[in-house]
């Protein structure tokens, strides 16, 4: 394992996190993510999945242990946080598009102000991303004029505009109708082929089977089991994951 360290783009080393004094949300998390790896995290609600990935771009701060992202250790250092956020894209459950900006402006905001890219270039790049998520014709509309699935695709495009090395997905399809789930997953599957590191919190087992290199199952703030999708779904090792799978695959 140690020989692979420089190939690990994310390293969690005994990471602990609390909300308040007594709510222990992440307990001794050890996790290495290889460059280009595609990981799906699942588990019951309140198991700390979202908190885990939100630690990676420091939307949440951990209190104990080491967390290294692409060679930079996350601490209170503002410069480190700025650097990480340029390299890590994030897609939220509630899209979080900026409703007062057009789709195109949503996409160019960060490249222009953070990446210091000229406007024209930023717009060209944005259009490329919009074409990639198959929504280029909506560029001049406002987010709330789009359907949920379209909004989430815009959100993915927005995160891609910074050409991140890592993409985090926090339950990207949970707020969508079944039909829209498919259009978003299609975009994500297409993205998975391009070698970007992806960490995705989701319960879409079809997606996990099709795309993921590894499935991580979490409960009570701990990693209970991790395995290839095939093994995890067909041959779960622990009682807790069996129980969980029987519930979500039960019908």
């Amino acid at each position: 394992m140690t020989t692979q360290t420089q190939d690990n783009i994310i390293v969690f080393d005994k990471v602990n996190k609390w909300y308040g004094n007594n709510f222990h949300v992440l307990r001794d998390i050890d996790l290495n993510v290889r460059r280009g790896e595609r990981i799906v995290i699942c588990g019951p609600s309140g198991s700390g999945k979202s908190t885990l990935i939100r630690c990676i771009n420091r939307l949440e701060e951990h209190q104990e242990g080491r967390l290294v992202v692409d060679g930079t250790e996350l601490s209170d250092d503002v410069k480190a946080i700025d650097k990480i956020r340029k390299e890590v894209g994030m897609v939220f459950q509630q899209f979080n598009l900026f409703p007062h900006l057009t789709v195109l402006e949503n996409l160019t905001l960060s490249p222009m102000y953070v990446g210091k890219v000229p406007k024209k270039e930023a717009e060209e790049k944005a259009m490329v991303q919009l074409k990639r998520v198959r929504i280029a014709e909506q560029a001049d509309k406002y987010p709330l004029q789009l359907s949920g699935g379209q909004q989430q695709r815009v959100a993915i495009a927005r995160a891609l505009c910074l050409t991140p090395k890592i993409m985090l997905f926090d339950e990207p399809t949970s707020a969508l109708d079944p039909e829209m789930i498919k259009e978003v997953l299609d975009v994500m599957v297409a993205m998975a082929d391009q070698g970007i590191t992806m960490i995705c919190v989701t319960h879409e087992m079809g997606f996990a089977k099709a795309v993921a290199d590894r499935v991580i199952f979490m409960d009570q703030g701990q990693i209970v089991e991790q395995n290839t999708p095939n093994e995890f779904f067909n041959n779960p090792q622990t009682d807790r994951s069996k129980d969980f799978l029987s519930k979500i695959l039960g019908h």
């Binding site: 700025d82 894209g89 939220f92 509630q94 979080n96 905001l109 960060s110 930023a122 927005r158």
Partner: protein
Amino acid sequence: MAVAPRTPPKKRDWSWRSQAFRGLLYQVIAVLLIGGVVWWLASNTAENMRIRGIKSGFDFLTQPAGFDIGESLFSFDSNNPYWKAFLVGIGNTLRVAIIGIILTTILGTMVGVGRFSRNGLVRGICYGYVELFRNVPVLLQLLMWYLIFTELLPDISEAKNIGPVFLSKGGLTYPGPVWESGHLWILGGLIAGAAAAWAYRRWATTQFEATGKLRSMFWVPLIIVLLAGAAGWVAGGMPNQWQIPTKGEFAIEGGSSLTPEFLAVLFGLVLYTAAFVAEVVRSGIQSVPRGQSEAAQALGLAKGQEMQKVLLPQALRVIIPPMTNQYLNLTKNSSLAVAIGYPDVVSISNTALNQTGRAVECIAIIMLVYLTTSLSTSFFMNWYNSKSAIKER
């Protein structure tokens, strides 16, 4: 088989039981009823005025007013006609309202933002301020300030001063420049500076869009404006004559001054309205969902950019309509000045009413002045709202 589209038939059913007929009937009844009541009131009024020998009409406006006004933006004496007295009143109302709105905005925003301070002491004080000042009638606050300014401050002969600024029962006296034509140059310089700053900002924006290089959008324009103002001052021959108030035996001589009435109205209105403005600002900031700030952070925007590009534009859309309401409230509440004798338009109308007995006309003037302000503001706001509304489907 597809059916060819066609336009709907236009005919309406006008039978006794049709909705269209019923609707018309209700409206005719309503118009007749309201018209009848108005006619009844008007004829009563006409009859009463005839019996009591009250003259009506606005001809009194050209007669000499016969009373003096304590403070005025332009010269006025008792021989001037009533219409000029009303103009003085409107001027005084606008003066206290405009200065009040500016101060209220500053104070209210500070307190509203202070509610989110990381410092617990600041949060507590802001909360206490809001609860205390908005739960006491504004009239009572005006009266209290008036009491403080006219009775609890030292006499003029013992005026307190910080340097050349004197505060006493006589009001606030402070140094004012001796106006000469050179000051116009300063004004000209500032205007030219503002134009230059605007041009600079446009240039900086296009540069930013072309090259991605960010330039200061605030400090540089500010310095341009100030430098241009200074240049205007030099060009105008550097006028530096100031009227510095000095304490005489019975009065403070020279300088500019604010009357205790004006100060009391201003303090009362500003402190009262700022408490409401603070709440407006607070709820505006709170109305932006947390996810917006998280998304901005995840995109790597700096704190200032997050505020300027993401949070503020959304919060302002929520803040501006109730804020305008508060501005209108402040303007309407300035009518309470009548209680302490600040000569605003209501106070002047009240005097005119008592002197001429033309109640209908004087009250109509008050209402007209406020209605014009309110309605024009709300037309503007409706236009602004529809323009800035976030587009949804």
